[in-house]
């Protein structure tokens, strides 16, 4: 199995044993969802308008909690040094870490979405089958840049705050696309096709960019 697969399996096994990232993330997302539900008490029609924005903002912040933990285990015993000394390519480490985060955030979304549906008694008027596509493309857009900037923020002073500062400006088009696509599907007023194409383009551009540039970030001391 490829090196990326081996590293991914290792990360999933470690996460399964300690579960520290997934627990903190789940609880954080639950808090965000509940707080949003308190602060807004929309009628059915209004809830469809704003639910898209609320869901994705909640998932964005929960994802940042997970992304900040991406390299925590590697930093604890400087395991990255062992990786950098070995002939293993930087990209397989990056892909493994990004896929790991991708799985974590998807699990979070799968658990949290029913809550949103309950709190806002949502029913999609538009083609609901497109929602998973938007979720997959959107989550990868956040996670690929997030993993990259988490590695970059290791080399800065205030690591936890640095990740969102680097991630959010660059993710604005993706976040806008996710929110607009979800809202258009929920309200059924217009088609989400453009946003899905934009998300796919975003994923393509930034996955390539991150793969080409990750080596520089990993080997910056």
């Amino acid at each position: 199995m490829s090196l990326t697969g081996v590293t991914l399996i290792k990360d999933l096994r470690l996460e399964w044993r300690s579960k520290d990232a997934i627990n903190s993330m789940l609880f954080f997302a639950l808090l965000v969802v509940v707080i949003f539900s308190f602060s807004f008490d929309p009628t059915a029609e209004e809830s469809r308008q704003i639910a898209g924005g609320l869901i994705w903002v909640a998932f964005l912040f929960a994802a940042v909690v997970a992304l900040n933990q991406t390299w925590a285990r590697e930093i604890r015993n400087q395991v990255l040094d062992a990786y950098r000394v070995s002939p293993a390519p930087a990209n397989s480490l990056f892909l493994a870490k990004a896929s790991g985060n991708f799985i974590f955030v998807l699990v979070l979304e799968a658990l949290m979405t029913p809550l949103f549906v309950v709190f806002y008694n949502l029913r999609a008027l538009g083609p609901a089958w497109q929602l998973p596509i938007v979720a997959l493309l959107g989550t990868w857009a956040l996670v690929v840049n997030g993993t990259f900037f988490a590695a970059m923020s290791l080399r800065t002073r205030s690591r936890e705050i640095m990740l969102p500062l680097l991630l959010f400006p660059i993710s604005l088009p993706a976040v806008l696309a996710m929110v607009e696509a979800t809202t258009s599907i929920l309200t059924g007023e217009y088609s989400a096709k453009f946003w899905i194409v934009l998300l796919a383009a975003y994923d393509l551009v930034f996955t390539t960019g991150c793969l080409l540039l990750f080596d520089i970030v990993l080997n910056a001391e």
Binding site: L3, K10, N77, V79, D81, A82, V85, A88
Partner: protein, 231 residues
């Protein structure tokens, strides 16, 4: 351990020419020039801040030199020869939540080594039990040092860069480790040991390299508690 092609004893395996490393304004290495021969064990001594660890990390390719150059195994691109380098640092470089064997399985894959026998043999070589089920996080400091050494030996490298391998290790096992390193040196490996317990290496190390304030101040074949005369 299968014998990889070992360069003959006296040919230089590593040449360092006026290596300078500055972290911002602090000069960790102030111009180190030296040649190291294959199949030798070098003890690198000096008090804290002398630049021992920085020199080792620069040889391992983890720190980029501010000035100067390093030629290793005939190439000045350290990345090209990294298969022949084993590096052990003060932190364990292992995952605390995984057992020793699981750790080595993973790191072996980084060197495309897939047979488990290699991992087991390296663990027994450092005097640990391969089937130990406890995660590394619950090892004693001495056991963790040994497992960390095992990880550095995994790819049977020609060059070993060891940072404080004996710290927190009891005297008896430290002596065993020195014997092990001596045997490997006799098999042709080139070993660098950064340590504060240089007396352990007396009779084992071929050269004692003293460093002070980022420079090599003396290289003697016998251990003396203070830097000897100029080389």
């Amino acid at each position: 351990m299968n014998a990889t092609p070992i360069a003959p004893a006296t040919t230089p395996i590593i040449t360092v020419t006026d290596l300078v490393k500055q972290f911002g304004r602090f000069a960790a290495l102030r111009g180190v020039s030296a040649t190291f021969n294959a199949g030798q064990m070098y003890a690198i001594l000096g008090d804290n801040g002398a630049g021992k660890t920085t020199l080792l990390r620069t040889l391992a390719g983890l720190n980029r030199p501010t000035r100067g150059s390093i030629t290793m195994l005939g190439s000045n691109n350290l990345r090209a020869v990294c298969r022949q380098v084993g590096y052990m640092a003060h932190p364990s470089l292992l995952y605390d939540e995984m057992t020793g064997m699981e750790n080595l399985h993973y790191f072996a894959r980084l060197y495309d080594i897939t047979d488990d026998q290699r991992c087991a043999s390296v663990i027994t070589a450092v005097g640990l039990d391969p089937d130990l089920a406890r995660p590394v996080g619950q090892y004693s400091q001495g056991m963790r040092q040994r497992m960390s050494l095992a990880r550095a030996l995994l790819n049977d490298p020609q060059i070993l860069l060891l940072d404080e391998p004996f710290s927190n290790v009891d005297l008896r096992s430290a002596r065993e480790m020195v014997l092990l390193l001596g045997k490997m040196r006799d098999n042709g490996k080139t070993i660098f040991v950064v340590t504060h317990q240089a007396f352990l290496l007396e009779g084992a190390a071929n050269e004692f390299v003293w460093m002070e304030e980022g420079k090599i101040v003396s290289r003697t074949s016998h251990y003396s508690p203070t830097p000897g005369e100029k080389p």
